[in-house]
Symmetry: C2
Subunit: 397 residues, 2 copies
């Protein structure tokens, strides 16, 4: 597999674009993604009981029809907690986009992200829809879906399946209200592989637990977040079937794309100055290991300590202890980068200067060895800075 510089329209048969429709003051805020033919589709959605209107519309289209050919997205207004009017607006967004693209409405997915509680300004949406052209600048799609993100998040990969080259690309947004459970944030992945919707869903499910579900910014699970994967078969490869070597290869490709996007989201967490990766090893099970890793990376006290470049490992052990896992904690090792700070649950002295070098880096790896099983799990997050507070105290007003 080869990771390369590409965009969401790199796979054969896809085009994408983004523009300014007026949901936000100046920035791009309306994007669309179209395949030249109906594509297989798989999705995972927020587990929040409060589900935003566009998710209801998109999920029901996918569940009822199992194919998708286009996705339209706006940022700035989330169309969430907007009651019956919001749901009518989301259906209208789907129908109007379908008319413009000359597709059946059920082939069009809709997504929104931004402020919760405001109705979608339909006049601005119509202005956006009017301007849709095919074969635009796909890099603008990655821009158009952002909210408080500071950078676009894109990845592309190529792999041979038989004699056919399959290309996959992903784009994501997400910077706050990030604490995935099933799936959180918006991510769109395109692929020109020949694979059924059912098999695609299998591959997505298989990888979401170890990638997007292992990042946390602030512990808040959004009402709007979803991951959609579209595969249009344009590469001409033989159909990828479950429980085959080709499926494993495809799943690994998808895992690489999803892990890359997940880490990019964590690193661009609201106000973040550092990426934190927590590896838990020798735990009694993978699920436990992932849960422990996520507990550490989600701890406000660990996050503020990392922001302060303070090797406060006691907070790491405390977060392991309160995670709710059935584990023993009497022989725990903790490493900050390569430096051991706790061995067999007893503190270890370390060199302050060496430690300072590790803590000043913009990526910190925390490794926790439980010596209580042989499973491992990784989670990603970011530090908690003054800017997180600033961004969220002032986001709406």
């Amino acid at each position: 597999m080869k990771i390369f510089q590409g965009n969401i329209a790199s796979p054969l048969g896809f085009s994408a674009d983004g523009l300014h429709a007026g949901f936000k003051k100046r920035k791009l805020d309306f994007g669309w993604l179209v395949s030249e033919r109906p594509a297989s589709v798989a999705g995972v959605y927020t587990t929040n009981k409060v589900v935003a209107a566009p998710l209801v519309v998109t999920r029901s289209a996918i569940e009822e029809h199992g194919q998708m050919q286009a996705v339209v997205v706006n940022s700035g207004v989330a169309n969430s907690c907007t009651g019956s009017q919001g749901l009518a607006d989301a259906y209208s967004m789907q129908r109007q986009a379908a008319e413009k693209l000359k597709l059946e409405p059920h082939l069009v997915g809709v997504a929104s992200t931004g402020v919760i509680g405001d109705l979608l300004p339909m006049d601005k949406l119509e202005k956006g829809l009017e301007k849709i052209v095919i074969n635009g600048n796909a890099d603008d799609f990655a821009q158009a879906i952002l909210t408080t993100d500071t950078i676009t998040k894109t990845v592309a990969a190529k792999e041979m399946f038989g004699s056919d080259e399959v290309t996959m690309a992903g784009v994501a947004k997400g910077s706050g209200m990030i604490h995935p459970n099933m799936a959180t944030m918006l991510a769109f992945i395109t692929c020109d592989a020949n694979i059924s919707s059912q098999t695609l869903q299998l591959a997505l499910r298989q990888n979401v637990e170890t990638t997007f579900n292992q990042i946390t910014i602030d512990g808040d699970t959004s009402t709007n977040d979803m991951v959609l994967v579209l595969a249009n078969g344009c590469s001409g490869n033989q159909e990828i079937l479950p429980e085959t070597a080709e499926f494993e290869k495809f799943s690994q490709m998808l895992s690489a794309v999803m892990t890359d996007l997940a880490k990019k989201i964590a690193k661009d967490g609201e106000g973040a100055t550092k990426l934190i990766e927590v590896q838990v090893v020798n735990a009694p099970g993978s699920k436990t290991a992932r849960m422990l890793a996520k507990s550490v990376v989600g701890s406000s006290l660990v996050k503020t300590a990392v922001f302060g470049e303070d090797p406060n490992w006691g907070r790491i052990l405390a977060a392991i202890g309160y995670a709710g896992a059935d584990i023993t904690v009497d022989k725990v090792d903790i490493y900050l980068g390569p430096i051991p700070v706790l061995l067999s649950s007893n503190p270890v002295a370390f060199d302050d200067e060496e430690m300072q070098d590790i803590m000043q880096d913009d990526e910190l790896v925390i490794k926790v060895d439980l010596h209580n099983g042989n499973s491992k799990g990784t989670a990603w997050g970011c530090d908690l800075s003054y800017d997180y507070v600033k961004i969220n105290a002032l986001y709406r007003t």
Copy 2:
């Protein structure tokens, strides 16, 4: 029942004091509390798997002997995550304090709070123990147990039991690493009632779920936290027995003292500028109602919005949605103070100036009516400010 200005030594037969022993640079950091006779005792402890050494010592003394006559506490160093040496030090603290007070060691409880991972400086402890005198200034005890707290937290109450006046007093500390589960933070409650340890434990258990367990500052459950209640019987009242009207009266008194301390802890959360009280009503069960209230009050996004005085009610509904409760969310009402912002899950327009008045207050009541049952629950917390980040980025170094 009458709440009055008192301190931890207000109940008959108790004395307390605090002094500077050197665990901290300048502030009081060593306190003790003594009863003139062995008292009934009840305790609840952190549910963190990582339990600090002093808790192990105190819990085992209570479990094995069921009485307590003195408690010694230091702040500045938590004696947590300190391995076998830390446990030996905690036992030594208990033994040395018992010698000084001429008591059996099992009648002495020990507690520590402060930085995790550092060994207890035993020379400083000895210096503190040397200076113990009976009948000191009980207000200094409340000072001596603080860490990042900005104010002392004390409450006292009186109530008649038959012809005897019973006095109860409580003191607590806690400002960060506050997310109780069973019990978190340090709280000591004294009482001169005649009640067995077993009945006292019943009353404590009954009230901890609705008071201390309903506050959260940062979602981090500490390794050191416990609540101890001592009742020495000095008031001479007839023994309070379970399942009697007198027990109910006693339990309500304890509830009032614990609720008062819990709110004081929430209001003095690290960096806090506002107390947030979340009331969830008409929920399918009390436990669900409490869980939902705690989810809202614990949301980083709600907390930052309150800090920014932004009526961002969408984040409140989102936190209800991701709490993991089995509820319906299609007819939710939300009020900020007296102002409705969501009725039957549809947004309601409000007057900006009226809202500004509510948001600028130093206490905000958020009420969520689920219309999905008839149980209620309350939780308390505080806003998330720049100072929370500052305090925790720089606490250790």
